[in-house]
């Protein structure tokens, strides 16, 4: 058995000792075996895949499209010297007004680009409150 230093819990770091339960990982180290030097082989099946009843959903990926740069609405705000908070709110508003792959990707990419900076990440935290997220998550207030 190997014990790792990985642990975590719910709530705040400073209060976890009294209000949350920390769990340490203890498990056998059965990571993907990496074969040593030798000969590798294999092949894919030649059988045709049977028809799907439900097509598997592609996983959501968070890396921005390689050709992504500022969308027009964000560029306009930047040209008008808008604050980072105004840009973040505008991104969220666009998603609330029209959920789509495009508005979500744009909002996520703009917010993540801003939050590379610690100061701007603080603004993201301030803006993305429960109330802000409720309409995005179709969640009741």
């Amino acid at each position: 058995m190997t014990e790792t230093a990985t642990e975590g819990g719910l709530g705040a770091t400073t209060t976890n000792k009294t209000t949350t339960e920390a769990v340490s990982v203890r498990s056998i180290a059965a990571a993907k075996p990496v074969p040593g030097p030798g000969l590798l082989g294999g092949g894919k099946t030649t059988q045709q895949h049977p028809a799907y009843g439900r097509i598997p959903v592609n996983p959501r990926r968070f890396e921005p499209p390689s050709d992504f740069w500022l969308p027009d609405w964000a560029r306009t705000l930047v040209d008008q010297n808008a604050t980072p908070e105004q840009v973040i709110r505008a991104a969220i508003d666009r998603v609330v007004k029209g959920h789509s792959e495009q508005t979500l990707v744009e909002a996520q990419t703009v917010i993540n680009e801003l939050s590379r900076s610690v100061d701007h990440a603080k603004i993201v935290t301030t803006v993305l409150t429960r109330e802000t997220l409720n309409p995005l998550l179709a969640r009741k207030a």
Binding site: G8, L10, K32, G41, G42, G43, K44, P59, H99, L137
Partner: protein, 281 residues
């Protein structure tokens, strides 16, 4: 399209430092946070805190030690009924997944990959290897391959159950024996008549280095290739037991053994221990 969940990951404690916003849509099951993304955000081994929000499903943030969604992991889960939580975390993270589970309106049936197939595998393989110079070595690894990025025979958009079996090749005379292994990657899918079935996507083998590697590989290859069809039949026979659950709508996986929903809480484990197959009806 609306969002099912969002996860804000921070490099500092108590939602400080640089952050990364991720989320999954209402039709999504998995969100990928690969090593490259963590690296570009300075979050390798540095996810110190975060905030999870979700609505119509439970959200599971699973942080893996390895960069391919395998190995030891630490999981933070949030119940859809609770809706929001913050968390703290220390330790190794080289890749992470967001997984939606327990969707409202769906019934879930959870089974362990090891529990349902471990015993069958031994007898299946022994039968396949009968009369050859090869025998099973140590216990197999029944695990997963999630969105394999660099496997020539698998899709980077799909998830697979993986069977890895170390083998012992007995050599005649005084020649030293060889180590070898065989792998099968299996896709579980929902058929057009709403049953859960298996499709063996590929086989892979390895023989340790030596003068006889090529000869052993040449004998092992057709055996392993023939095993695909037989394994698929064996798995599908076993999966007919899940027909009792009713019309299957979806199947997905959770790491290690999570036969009951965690709700809101934490869980640590290893993808090498087991994989939970979740069947939604």
């Amino acid at each position: 399209m609306s969002l099912l969940a969002t996860a804000l990951l921070y490099s500092g404690p108590n939602q400080t430092g640089a952050s990364l916003l991720t989320g999954i849509g209402s039709g999504d099951r998995y969100g990928l946070i690969p090593n490259s993304l963590l690296s570009s955000r300075g979050l390798i081994d540095s996810i110190a805190s975060g905030r999870l929000d979700c609505s119509a499903a439970d959200l599971n943030l699973v942080m893996f030690h390895n960069n391919d969604y395998t190995g030891q992991f630490f999981q933070i889960s949030l119940s859809g009924t609770q809706g929001e939580t913050t968390f703290w975390h220390t330790g190794q993270v080289n890749s992470a997944l967001l997984i939606a589970s327990n969707n409202s309106g769906a019934n879930e049936h959870r089974i362990g990959f090891v529990g349902i197939f471990r015993a069958e595998w031994d007898s299946f393989l022994d039968h396949q290897l009968q009369g050859s110079q090869v025998t099973r070595d140590v216990d197999p690894l029944l695990t997963w391959q999630m969105f394999p990025a660099s496997d020539q025979w698998l899709s980077s958009n799909l998830t697979y159950l993986r069977i890895h079996q170390p083998l012992h090749v007995h050599m005649p005379w005084y020649w030293p024996d060889y180590q070898a292994s065989v792998d099968y990657n299996v896709e579980l899918y929902v058929t057009s008549d709403n049953h859960l079935r298996a499709w063996v996507a590929d086989y892979e083998w390895w023989v340790e280095s030596g003068a006889k590697s090529g000869q052993i590989g040449a004998k092992l290859d057709p055996q392993a290739r023939a095993g695909m069809s037989a394994l698929q039949t064996e798995l599908n026979q076993k999966l007919t037991e899940t027909d009792l659950f009713g019309a299957v709508k979806a199947v997905y996986y959770l790491p290690d053994r999570q036969l009951s929903p965690i709700g809101t809480g934490t869980f640590g484990g290893d993808t090498g221990n087991d994989i939970t197959i979740v069947i939604q009806t």
